[in-house]
Each structure stands twice: as C-alpha cells, then as structure tokens.
Subunit: 250 residues, 2 copies
Amino acid sequence: MNHLIRFKAFQQQVTLSRREICREVFTHHKKNITIKREKTLDKNLLRIFDAALTISNRKGFKAMSMRDLSRETGLSMGGLYAYFSGKEDLLEMLLRTGRTTIQRILSAHVDPVLHPVSKLRVAVQTHIFLSEVLQPWFYFSYMEARHLAPAHKAEAKAGELGTEKLFQDILEQGRSKGLFEVLDSLLTASVIKAMVQDWYVKRWKYAKRNVGVDQYASFVISCVERLCLAQSERQAHAELYAGASGTMVE
Amino acid sequence: MNHLIRFKAFQQQVTLSRREICREVFTHHKKNITIKREKTLDKNLLRIFDAALTISNRKGFKAMSMRDLSRETGLSMGGLYAYFSGKEDLLEMLLRTGRTTIQRILSAHVDPVLHPVSKLRVAVQTHIFLSEVLQPWFYFSYMEARHLAPAHKAEAKAGELGTEKLFQDILEQGRSKGLFEVLDSLLTASVIKAMVQDWYVKRWKYAKRNVGVDQYASFVISCVERLCLAQSERQAHAELYAGASGTMVE
DNA sequence: GTCTATATACGGATAGAC
DNA sequence: GTCTATCCGTATATAGAC
C-alpha cells in the first residue's frame, strides 16, 4: 500500500484549517486581546497574520514597522494593539501558531501510517508539502525564531527537536525490524531534516530552476531511501524511484 | 591517496589569513574609508568585524545599533564612520568579505584534487571545516544576505549558486567516468549543500549533543558517498566508513 | 471597536572640538 | 584620526475622541 499522494490532492485537504488557527491563537493569547466579537477577531487576525508574514518575509520582522503593518492590513496603528500587546507579543503569536498548526497537521498525516518504510516516506512528503502550503509560516519560523526572548526560544527549539525526533523514531523502528540500515539515527534524522528544509528556505533557487514540489519531494524520498533502506528493501523498492525523477505514483 | 585531514590540522592552515581579509576589504571599499595608516586600519577593521558579527549573530544585524557597535569595539560613534559610510555599507562589506574569503580558501583546497571521488570528499570536508573556523562569517552570511539591497543580493545569490555548481561539476565529472550514479546532479548538489550548511546554521543543536566537527564531516561524507557512488565504487570504499562513525583516517 | 493625534524614546548620521 | 555633543527622522505605544 502506497500512502503517497500528489501535491494538488494534499493541498485540498489542508487549506481549510484557517479558522482552527484563530481558535488556537485565542486560547494562548486571550489576555492580550481586547476584541470580544469572534467574527471580527477571526477576520482581522488573519489579515494581520497575512500582512505580517508578507512584510517580514520581505524585509525581516525587526524592520517591519507598525506603520507598515497598519498600511497593509487597513487597520489603524491604534487598532492593531487590540489584537496583541506589542511587537514582541505578535512575534510570539506568529511563531507559536505556526508551530502548533504544523505539528498538528503533520501528526494527523503521519501517525496513522504504521509500516516504517511507508511512514518515513509519508513523513518526508507531508513535511515538504506542508511547507509548500504554509510557506510563509515555515520561512518566517525558520528566520525569526532566533529573535524570540529566551523563554520562548526554548519552546521553539523544543519544537525543532520534536520533528527531528519524529524522523529518528521512524528510523529506529525500521532498524529494529531489519528494514533500515543506519549508522546513527540521530544524525541521519538531522540530514533528512536539512534536506526537507531546503525546499522552503531556498525557495527562490528552486523556482528559478523550475523544480516543482512534487519533483522535489520524490527526489528527497529517493535520497532518504538510498540512505536508509537495507540492501534487501532497496532492491524491492528500486522500481519506484529508478527512472521517475519527476513523478511519484499515487 | 586520501586527501582528508583532521580538523585540528586544517585549522592551523587557515587561521592566519586575517590580514589578507583586510586587504580584500580595502580594495573594494576604499572610497568609503578615510583612514590612511594601514596599521590602524587593519587593527580596527578586525575589531569592527568581530564586534559586528558577535552582536549581529546574537540579535540580528538590523537590531544592532551603532551605539552597540561603539561600545563593543571601544571606538566612538563618530570614529566608526571613518571605516564605512553607513550601516548598509558595513553589511555589504561583511558579506562580500566573507564570500570572497570563503571562495578563495575553498578553491585552494579543492582545485588541486583531481580524482572525482577524492574531490567530492575534500569539497564536503573543506566546506564543513571552513564553516567551523569561520563560523560567525558563515552564519552571518546565511542569515543576513536577504537584507541586502537588490543589486548586492544578486551577487550573494550568485555566490551561493557558485558553490553549488562546484559540487555539481564534481558529480558530473565522476558520473562521466562511471564512478558516480546520480539521477539529477543539480538536485543532488542541492541536498549535499543543505547537509553541509546544517552544521553552521544549527550549531546549537550539535553542541548540545556533543557532536564534533570531525564526526559530523565524516558522517556527511558517508551519506554523500552512499548517495552518489556507483555500486562498484561503494563496495571498494565500504571499509572507510563502515564502522567508524567518529573518525576518518588521515 | 476603531480612529487620530501625540508622548516618548531610540535610531543613524554629522559637525566641530581637540 | 578620534572624540563629544547633537540633529533629526522614525519607532513603539497610548490617550482620548467618536
């Protein structure tokens, strides 16, 4: 059984969850939010997020002024402070929201898959596809997490190590069943993560080269399998990535 | 013949080149530098670089104020402007200097090696070792290049693509000789670069885990060879990385 | 709930003394 | 060549009108 799907199909499953994002924000930041009506809150919060990510990903969060944000959202400077208590609070809000959303969707896709070989593929593919759907969030998190206050930075690092642990666990599970051959599951998980991250960090590069997300995902999967699969398994799966550099069967 | 060395030996070869760095800066930025005496220039320029990298890598270049820089260097605010015309000029200076220095040293180590298999290993190892010696420069370049003005950003991107081309050329050279088996040399070069970069971008992670630079370099080399080497070559080299997760023969 | 106007601080850059 | 003192723009945040 092959759990891999194409990006288009994946996209249709996850784009809807924006409402859920707002609920998540509210539970963690209600003390700094003075807006009462839920409908107003949701609408403007999403505008603020969109605008903040757009501007920050262009010029950096620190360089984004409240005037920029006011102009881009259509809200006044004073009005913005009804949604967060200050820039630092906004930064934390954006990073926490991104982190929890990503983890939630990732788990939802990966957890149900049981066989280590499939699970590894699904984890890699879902991570890449998700980073495509939520590209601004991923890029922002990657670039701005280091500017958090120490306490919140620790949470961000824990999240980072968490997704790495996800890969590591799959590798060890597969190794114990004789499916994988890895020297060091922790370092292997690290390089898998590095390959996966390159997609959203260096997006300009792949755009320039006309490398699409389906192609990149299947390429990384082929690399990962070449790195991890035991000899016997590699031959069994060989035909799946042998010639197909651009496509992956559904 | 094995061209790989340990990090300690590598370090002794390259730490000296700080003077050369200053000469490089001067040729590109003399129009903005009012200092005449070479000795004063060199001494203070290096102080400024050290300080700017330290502060920026902690809080970001944008967040570093001239007052911060003044305090850290011991120079006055006014005095600083004898070495560069403004913050933007300083940013450009730091990035250009890092880029050219890195390329110079990388070429010096990689170019003399002719056999593709050795060349690939040396390229990977040198890149990782160099990023260890010049860690603040690499990290700064990685994080701040996006804040350059468009014209200079193009140069930075070109540099990035240049080192990737270095890997790609080695791969194609080796492929044409039947030493490597790679589906897509460009994408393979990309993921190699991603693995190499993880060392200096996520340094905190490896420090926490007590993974040293020799260990990381040899691990990445083993991954790269597993990804690239043709079946025949892989068996020939198997003993070099089979059990040794931490060391690489000199 | 959202706006305009403003308080207050901090930023980069420079003028002019030594 | 380097320092001190200062200019002036822009930043965040808030007070109070509507």
